[in-house]
């Protein structure tokens, strides 16, 4: 039967997938989604653990994470829009005017 460890492994895998996304993606929008993926991986873990301990804290945390993820997207997209207005691209390789 499927135990906690399976869930944790899944979440770990998704987390790493998200991480890979963050590392590989060149488009900022995609990059944001990757971070969302990571956060949701964490949610899985939290949900599983809280069920394992049957204690609600984990789920609470999960909910908060979802909320925060949402607001992150909001703010993030806002910034992206103004950025797009200025630069006309979301490719982060064009985003290196400050260096050194």
């Amino acid at each position: 039967m499927i135990g906690l460890s399976h869930y944790l492994i899944v979440s770990a895998l998704i987390f790493s997938i998200g991480l890979m996304g963050v590392l590989r993606r060149r488009n900022l929008l995609m990059l944001f989604f990757a971070t969302e993926v990571m956060l949701n991986a964490v949610n899985i873990a939290f949900a599983a653990i809280s069920h394992y301990y049957n204690d609600l804290t984990g789920q609470m945390f999960a909910f908060f994470i979802i909320a925060i993820a949402a607001s992150e997207v909001a703010v993030g997209l806002g910034i992206l829009i103004v950025l797009y207005k200025k630069h006309g691209t979301l490719d982060l390789d064009d985003l290196a005017s400050m260096k050194g």
Binding site: L19, V22, L23, R25, R26, L92, D93, L95, A96, S97, M98, K99, G100
Partner: protein, 632 residues
């Protein structure tokens, strides 16, 4: 009363120096010279009175003016001691310097730095007085360095002369000679300082009386070390081999200076030191014998160079060197009072000789080459007489001062059974007679070898000649006081009497010396009395060249000490200091800066690189964590 005399004797020259210094930068004023001379004469009178007092009462005067340095357990006062030895020196010094001062009024009359000259000269006398009067080694060292500086100033008196090559002028320039003298003396002074340190740390004081009374409890090695160190100091001032080169170069100074400093007084300071510290030396036979041997060697060595030299003053300088050798020989053999006596006698006739030479230069417009002189007898018979007398004394012809003193030294050498030394000294006596009369004849006899149309030699001013007379007189009669002198100084110095055996042979010994002396004179007469006959193949012979070039010792020093030192210094600066030490410091700085330039590259400005850095960091940490967790 007596104390005041001490202070008068000591500070009159100082006052004179300061007074002259006041006018140091103003043009020549004769009265400066006169007042200086008067003050010096005062000093002489005071010294003479002191001498009389010490002679009659037989007790010495000891005054302490004030404390100089005191740190830890060391205490050095300005203390002055007037006893048989120092009073002798005082009298001699002040007498000769008085004469020289008066002489200089005449001799320097055309020099624009007339006043400055007197201030230096008196300053020298002051330092010399400190040297001889001090009651402790440190005080002696003050005088010791003081005379050093004054001689630096006076040798370099005509500092404005430019450097020339050694062939034009063996002592490259006055300023060069001055520096040489100072530095060479410094080398010796280090030895002297070490001597002081040894004494202090073993005795706990530098006062003569304390030190000498403490000597018996000191180990032989300590005594030897101290004696040797002190003697190294003496070697510098008295220009003993190998530190002798500066003395002949010092002849660049004005002639009165040569007379006073480089003949009569300063150069004898070394001898004085040995005599003053005789308790130490008489307890260290090995060192003493070394002194005697070295003295004898120098006597011969210097005389040999004098034989062929053509420079009037240098010849006399060499003879001074040689006579200093005699003195050291005597002192080394334990005949301290004889050494002191010869010192005094020599001071008189050698000063006279130099002043005479000065007259000649004055007449010949600073010509020094005796090959370019001759026949001056008619023009300046006073000077002729003076120099004749002085040379007779120097050659050690009976009744003249030199006869008694030098003969005594030679006898001592015989008496001590050191026959080799005796032989050399006798031979040297012969050479001495030869070169001094070679010089006299070449200068005064024969016919003129200079251009008589342009040059009209004339006798020195009368007052100068009169001023020289006391020296002449003493050069003649000083010897007769030998007995009295002996009884006087041996109250303080260990007496030295010839053994019975020597006493029997005394006439023989004297005869031998006389034969050599007269022989020397006769030889000189034959060769030079009527004009100069150049002898080419002799002058080109190796030995002649060797002697003429002072055994190439100055060149040797030049090549193997001066130049390497300069080169090494240059290397030290350019290669070591700049290229290694400093470069390392800057190198470290540059390295840090470079590493900054390198590491700033991680800041590409590209977001994905940043994210990678972050992820890499995280993964790395996780891996490390895992590993270290495995290892526990």
């Amino acid at each position: 009363m007596m104390e005041n005399l001490v202070y008068i004797a000591l500070f009159a020259p100082f006052a004179s120096s300061l007074f002259a210094a006041l006018f140091g930068m103003s043009p020549r004023q004769t009265f400066v010279g006169i007042i200086a001379s008067l003050l010096l004469f005062t000093s002489f009178v005071a010294s003479a009175l002191l001498a009389y007092y010490v002679y009659t009462t037989g007790n010495s005067i000891h005054v302490t003016m004030m404390e100089w340095i005191s740190a830890g357990d060391l205490t050095i006062p300005f203390g002055f001691l007037v006893d048989q030895v120092s009073v002798t020196m005082m009298t001699v010094v002040t007498l000769v310097s008085t004469v020289v001062h008066i002489y200089s009024i005449g001799y320097m009359d055309h020099d624009k730095s007339f006043n400055r000259f007197f201030s230096y000269l008196s300053a020298f006398v002051f330092s010399m007085m400190i040297l001889v009067m001090s009651d402790n080694f440190a005080g002696l060292f003050i005088g010791w360095e003081g005379v050093g500086v004054c001689s630096w100033l006076l040798i370099g008196f005509w500092y404005h002369k430019a450097d020339v090559t050694r062939d034009e002028n063996p002592s490259i320039s006055p300023s060069w000679a001055a520096n040489e003298a100072f530095i060479v003396n410094r080398i010796a002074d280090l030895g002297m300082l070490v001597g002081l340190f040894i004494i202090y740390w073993n005795v706990g004081s530098l006062q003569y009386d304390v030190v000498f009374s403490a000597l018996p409890n000191l180990s032989g090695s300590v005594l030897n070390a101290a004696a040797l160190a002190l003697f190294i100091g003496a070697m510098g001032k008295s220009a003993q081999f190998p530190l002798h080169t500066w003395l002949t170069d010092a002849m660049e100074g004005p002639t009165p200076v040569s007379a006073l400093i480089h003949a009569a007084t300063m150069v004898t300071a070394g001898v004085f030191l040995v005599i003053r510290a005789n308790p130490i030396f008489s307890m260290t036979p090995e060192v003493s014998f070394f002194i005697a041997a070295l003295g004898t060697f120098v006597a011969f060595f210097a005389a040999s160079m004098a034989l062929v030299n053509r420079d009037l003053k240098r010849i006399i300088a060499f003879s001074t060197l040689s006579q200093l050798g005699y003195m050291f020989a005597a002192a080394g053999l334990g005949a301290y009072w004889i050494a002191l006596f010869h010192l005094a006698a020599h001071a008189f006739f050698k000063a006279l000789l130099f002043l005479g030479a000065g007259n000649v230069m004055h007449a010949m417009h600073d010509e020094l080459d005796i090959f370019k002189m001759g026949g001056l007898k008619k023009a300046m018979n006073w000077t002729y007489a003076y120099m004749g007398v002085a040379s007779l004394a120097l050659a050690g012809i009976p009744v003249f001062a030199g006869f008694f003193s030098k003969d005594a030294i030679i006898e001592t050498a015989f008496n001590e059974g050191t026959y080799v030394l005796w032989a050399i000294l006798v031979l040297t006596a012969g050479m001495t007679a030869f070169y001094s009369f070679r010089q006299v004849f070449l200068t005064f006899h024969g016919k003129a070898r200079y251009d008589e149309s342009t040059l009209h030699p004339h006798e020195m001013y009368k007052f100068v000649l009169i001023a020289m007379s006391p020296l002449a007189l003493l050069a003649v009669i000083a010897g007769f006081f030998m007995g009295g002198f002996q009884t006087f100084v041996t109250k303080l110095l260990p007496d030295y009497v010839m053994s019975e055996h020597t006493h029997h042979l005394i006439w023989v010994l004297t005869a031998v010396v006389l034969v050599f002396a007269v022989g020397g004179i006769w030889l000189a007469y034959k060769k030079y009395a009527n004009g100069l006959k150049r002898d080419e193949e002799l002058e080109n012979s190796f030995i002649y060249k060797l002697l003429a070039n002072q055994y190439y010792i100055p060149q040797f020093y030049e090549e193997f000490i001066t130049k390497p030192y300069a080169m090494l210094s240059e290397k030290m600066w350019t290669s070591v200091d700049m290229k290694i030490v400093d470069a390392t410091v800057d190198g470290i700085a540059k390295l840090i800066y470079k590493s900054g330039d390198g590491s700033r590259k991680m800041q590409t400005g590209n977001l994905s690189n940043y994210l990678n850095w972050m992820a890499v960091g995280a993964v790395l940490l996780l891996v490390v964590a895992a590993i270290s967790a495995m290892l526990g």
